[in-house]
Symmetry: C2
Subunit: 120 residues, 2 copies
């Protein structure tokens, strides 16, 4: 059975910041949705590139060699091994595209870490 997915409807189901859900899966990759506000944690992914597409709002991707502001309808791809830290002064809604099994905090384990995002 093939169903379409409303990104906005899924985002409305998210109750907590920094708590990603899995909205789709294809070719071993996950489509995740997350709402966040505030500053995340510096981390990197050893083996996974990660794409952040802003559905609504804006945020800053902090990188060791400079910050990049990502606005609505823009995306950024963070290559594996590159340290990054998302920062959102206001709430932002983001669609992530990354390999299944990618841990949100990468090489760091702390209170932000979500090992098994819900499939909603």
């Amino acid at each position: 059975m093939i169903n379409k997915v409303s990104v906005n409807e899924k985002l409305d189901l998210i109750k907590q910041h920094w708590d990603p859900i899995i909205a789709g899966e294809l070719n071993g990759q996950h489509i995740k949705l997350v709402r966040f506000k505030g500053e995340f944690t510096w981390h990197k992914h050893e083996n996974e590139d990660e794409m952040f597409y802003v559905v609504k709002g804006r945020f800053t991707m902090k990188l060791r060699d400079g910050d990049i502001d990502i606005n609505e309808n823009e995306f950024i791809i963070i290559p594996k091994g590159v340290e990054h830290c998302p920062l959102a002064t206001e709430e932002v809604s983001v669609m992530l595209f990354e390999p299944a099994g990618t841990i949100n905090t990468g090489d760091i384990k702390n209170n932000f870490t979500k090992i098994n995002p819900a499939k909603i």
Copy 2:
């Protein structure tokens, strides 16, 4: 060098319907952008799942067991092996996620076929 990508700016560079561009690459997958209008061609991809996310507008994904209307901010994942045919009565802008090397017309070769989309 890490750069962000404006999806709208990239879409503005597309001159022809059904002519996808590669806007990003990660984990062996391509982010493609395409604008289309009218009816495509029935086809399937033997080895690749394909995701269609509507950035602007709407279209109908024709499937052998029924049509599904995909509106702005919605997506659909077509599993490998499933025949499909996009139909847009008005122009629609779509972001595709699929493995690098995926041919737009899958198992069919005709005037719609684009073997090497431009990286813009």
